[in-house]
Amino acid sequence: MKAVLYVVEHDFRNFFRYKWWLVGLVSMNLADLFIMAIVYNNMLSTAVREQIKNYFNFFAPGLTVTGLFASAFMIGREINMERRREVHHYMLSLPMTRMELAIGRVLSGGLRGMVYMSPLLLTCFAFLGFPTAWQFLIILVVLFFLAIGIAGLSIAIAVSTSSLEKFITARGLVYYTLFFCSSVFYPLSLIQSLGQEGKFPMILVTLAEVNPLSNGADLIRSFLLGNPSFSLNMILNVLVFSTIFTLSAAFAYIKIIQQ
């Protein structure tokens, strides 16, 4: 356990080396919320307005998940760089088991995501209202699982790609698929109705329904806005995603960096 904590500490120190990058990311996220969401609020069709009332309120939880995704994914970039520069030989020489090293990396990736996301979540609470203590706890736990799932996904991609370009391309593909096929930017019911009308492939509708980003954002909305209504599937989908990618990342990390 102590070894895991050392790995987490190492990754946190690295995280704060990117402070300029983080400031840029925060300003972009805030610009999305305080400029883009406010302008889009004036562009909603009557049908969607009846459903979500206010785009700013709708988007704030989505933005929290966006921030969580971007920061939790950063661990992959570092691991990819370590692999290219062969720093992983040093990591493997440390007095800890491979599993401790792998778990430490996934855990730190997730925790870094949580740290970055917290001001966004607080902004969300400040504008949308505070949840009850239980709801707050559920939000934190689910978002933490979501963060380690994202870190796991990022690590799995990082160790499977040999160059930074390939990693960035894969990250772009994952990013656009997961974000645009989710309820981060638009309500899930809209995607479902487009699917029923035949304007959107049903496979993508299903992806949007099980997408952990949709479930994370909708969970916060269900507690703060009351729409969509809370469902246990939201938690289950995130847990399944998190388990799959944490385990696959840990095993891929152990297998590939030993080669």
Binding site: V23, S27, M28, I35, T46, V48
Partner: protein, 313 residues
Amino acid sequence: MISVPARTLTTGSIHLESYQAHTFQVNATNGLYSMSINVSSSQGHGDVYVYFPNGTLVNSVRFDSSVNRYNFQFDFNNPDFGLWSVKLVASDIASDYSLVAYSLVDYFRFYVSGLSVMTLYSAAIFIGFDIYEEAEHGVFEYLLSLPVSRRQLVVGRSIGGGLRAFIYVGPLIGVSLYVIGAINPLGFLMSLFALFLFAFGVSGMSITIAVMIKSSDRFDILMGVLDALIVRLSTAMYPQAVVQAANPLYGGVAGFNPVTYAADLFRWGTGIEAIISLDNPLLPLLGIIAFFSLFTFVGVIIYERRIEGGGWQ
């Protein structure tokens, strides 16, 4: 999800005594993407009948003050060309009625064209990062030793940065043109020329900022913040009127933004209907030229002064 008024087709109001009727005509021009008709009754009484240009009834509804039904909105995609009729019939209570009909923006085409300009901006910015890489690897000294003047060097870098951004975004512009459809060749050439100037201007801006601050960390953050503000406070993603309505300050900034000029000119050149309130394309063209001149020619002076003496971080 998105519904943005493009231009008003018909507007009117009338007072009707009990059981009196009045018909408004709405002229749907050829090739209209979408149309919205809003009807309201001050008393929440009376009936509305909407008819196609051929006289067939499309919809009929009744105002009802007891359930707060004081207005109705009818949306039509690809409405039939011709004169639509909206008949208002008062009930036993006299009431004031009003009608507003407007065409809606084809947001998909609008966004696709804005996306090209946003990508062009991001691609042209990259030249600044190259400057840092050259400084880090000592290529800068080699470039300074070449038999070209500093002025030629910066103008060349600026044009090179703009040109490669254009090549990079070329396929996306091609896809945009395919999605947008028919174009006016003369207008398109003019907007393409404006996009070239825009890309050179952005490259010049990136080089100028890079040599001014000489710190890759600061440059990275400044570009991130600038990107966040300059793109979102422009008409690349939404029409000027909507930005103005959301916040007059945002609207003011969007009105003096090179991304707005480039996006408006590109849309004008590609013949997207008058959804951008662009009365005179000369104004954004002048804006682009001013932006290009500022960062290319003023950039040359700054570049000449700051290029030597090291201090790169």
